[in-house]
C-alpha cells in the first residue's frame, strides 16, 4: 500500500496538517491500517523534497505545519490512480504447494487436509463479516477494506472446493507419481 499516494490523495482535497492527515487516513481505511505519526512526517518530508507537496513554512517543524499538494503532486497522483497494480500471482503459492505435496504423501487424506484449510479460511471470513455487520452501514471505507479481504479469502476457498472435487475422481490410495508421467507426455505433445 502506498502511504505516499494516500497522503497526496488527502491533500488533493485541500491543505492539511500532519496530524490531521494521519487521522483522516485511518478513518477512511476503516482503521484497519494504522499509521504512526513518524511515518506520516517522514513521507511528507520526502514528498516536499520531490516537489510533490509544499508547506507553509519550509524551515519550520511540528504539528502546526500545514501542507498542500503541488501541480506535479496532482499529476503524480492521477498517474498512480490509473496505473494497474501488479497482478502476477506469487511465484509459489504456499497453499497450492501444500495440497500438491499432500497428494503424494502416504497416509495423508488430502480431502481432510483441504477441509482443515477451508475451515480456517471460513472462520477468518466470519470474523471479517462480523466487523462489517457490527459497523455502521454508512462506513463505506471499512466496508470496502473488509470486502477486499473477504473476496480474496473467498477466492481461496473456491480454489479449495475445486481441488476437492477434482481430487475426488482420483483413485483413493494411489500415489500421484504414477499419473504424473502420462500427464507430462501430454503436455509435450501439445508443444
Amino acid at each position: 500500500m502506498s502511504v505516499r499516494h494516500a497522503l497526496l490523495a488527502l491533500l488533493s482535497e485541500g491543505p492539511k496538517y500532519g496530524l490531521q492527515l494521519r487521522q483522516e487516513f485511518e478513518s477512511r481505511t476503516g482503521e484497519v491500517w494504522p499509521l504512526n505519526v513518524g511515518q506520516v512526517y517522514t513521507t511528507l518530508q520526502r514528498l516536499e523534497r520531490d516537489g510533490l507537496v509544499e508547506s507553509d513554512d519550509p524551515e519550520g517543524d511540528g504539528p502546526q505545519k500545514g501542507f498542500r499538494i503541488t501541480p506535479a503532486g496532482g499529476q503524480e497522483l492521477a498517474e498512480w490512480l490509473h496505473t494497474p497494480p501488479g497482478t502476477l500471482p506469487p511465484p509459489r503459492d504456499e497453499l497450492v504447494i501444500k495440497v500438491l505435496v499432500a497428494i503424494s504423501v502416504p497416509g495423508v487424506d488430502v480431502h481432510e487436509l483441504i477441509q482443515v484449510h477451508r475451515r480456517h479460511l471460513v472462520e477468518l471470513m466470519q470474523r471479517y463479516t462480523y466487523v462489517k455487520a457490527e459497523a455502521a452501514e454508512h462506513d463505506v471505507g471499512l466496508a470496502l477494506v473488509v470486502d477486499a479481504e473477504l473476496f480474496r479469502l473467498e477466492a481461496v476457498v473456491r480454489w479449495l472446493d475445486a481441488a476437492d472435487t477434482r481430487l475426488t475422481s482420483l483413485p483413493a490410495a494411489s500415489p500421484v507419481a504414477a499419473p504424473a508421467m502420462p500427464a507430462r507426455r501430454r503436455l509435450e505433445v501439445r508443444r
Binding site: E31, V32, W33, P34, L35, N36, V37, H111, Q115, R118, R119, L121, V122, E123, L124, M125, Q126, R127, Y128, T129, Y130, V131, K132, A133, E134, D147, L150, F151, L153, E154, V157, R158, D161, D164, T165
Partner: protein, 241 residues
C-alpha cells in the same frame, strides 16, 4: 431452553439395490432460537435434503426430527402441515412471491391460509415488514421491486407471526454481492430477535454471516466451526499514540 430444531442421527436413503444413494448419513444438528447456522457443502453433499427434512417436507429414512421440542414422527400429516404453517418459514433462491399480491399481502398470506381473518393477517404482516424496516414497500407489487427487495419481502413472510424457524436455501444465489449482503443483514437481524435460522449454501461469503458453520460432505457432517473468536485480532497492532 428447548432447541427450536433438533436432528438426531438423521439419515436419508433414496432408491434401492445398485441405485441406492445415501443422501444423508447420521447427521446431528441442534439450532436454538436467536442463532443463525450455515450448512455448507458442494452440490450433492445433502444440503437441500437436510433442509427439506428439517422443514418436514420430507421424512428421514432413520433418525428423529424435533421442531420446538415436538417429534415430527409422531404427528399426522395434518398436524405436520399445521406446524409448517405456524412455525416454519422458507426462503428459496427464487423468492416465490405471488405476482398478483402486494408485498404485505404476500407476507400475510400464510396467516390467512392458517385461518386468520384478512384484516388481522394484514396487521401482523405490516408489523413483520415494519420490524425489518420494509414498511415503505408494503403496498408495492413484486414486479415493482428489485431482486434484493423481493428477497427481503420473502424473509419477512418467512418470519411473520409466530414463525420461529427460518430455513433458507441459497437465499442470495440470484443477487449481486451488495444486495446479497442486505439480505444476509436482514436474516441476521431476524435471528437476533429470537428466530432460529438455518441457511444452506455452497458460498463461503454467505456462510460467513452465520454464528456456526456445519460442513457437509457426501451426506455426512464432517466438520464445524463453533462461534469464532472475536474480530479484535484481525486489526493490526495499534502504534502508540
Amino acid at each position: 431452553m428447548t432447541a427450536m430444531l433438533e436432528l438426531r442421527q438423521v439419515s436419508k436413503v433414496y432408491g434401492s439395490g445398485p441405485t441406492r444413494v445415501h443422501a444423508l448419513w447420521e447427521v446431528d444438528l441442534t439450532v436454538d432460537g436467536g442463532e443463525l447456522v450455515a450448512v455448507m457443502g458442494p452440490s450433492g453433499s445433502g444440503k437441500s435434503t437436510l433442509l427439506t427434512i428439517a422443514g418436514s417436507l420430507e421424512e428421514p429414512s432413520a433418525g428423529e426430527v424435533l421442531v420446538d421440542g415436538s417429534a415430527l414422527a409422531g404427528m399426522t400429516r395434518n398436524q405436520r402441515a399445521r406446524l409448517r404453517r405456524r412455525l416454519i418459514g422458507y426462503v428459496f433462491q427464487d423468492f416465490n412471491l405471488l405476482a398478483g399480491l402486494t408485498a404485505v399481502e404476500n407476507v400475510a398470506l400464510p396467516l390467512e391460509l392458517d385461518g386468520l381473518g384478512q384484516h388481522a393477517a394484514r396487521a401482523v404482516g405490516l408489523a413483520a415488514l415494519d420490524e425489518l424496516g420494509l414498511a415503505d414497500q408494503a403496498g408495492r407489487f413484486p414486479d415493482e421491486l428489485s431482486g434484493g427487495e423481493r428477497q427481503r419481502i420473502a424473509i419477512a413472510r418467512a418470519v411473520v407471526g409466530d414463525r420461529r424457524l427460518l430455513l433458507a436455501d441459497e437465499p442470495t444465489g440470484a443477487l449481486d454481492s451488495v444486495n446479497g449482503e442486505a439480505v444476509m443483514r436482514l436474516l441476521r437481524a431476524a435471528c437476533k430477535r429470537g428466530v432460529a435460522g438455518v441457511v444452506v449454501t455452497h458460498d463461503a461469503q454467505l456462510a460467513s454471516w452465520a454464528d456456526r458453520v456445519i460442513f457437509l460432505r457426501d451426506g455426512r457432517a464432517v466438520d464445524q466451526i463453533a462461534r469464532p473468536p472475536g474480530p479484535e485480532s484481525l486489526l493490526a497492532p495499534r502504534p502508540n499514540r
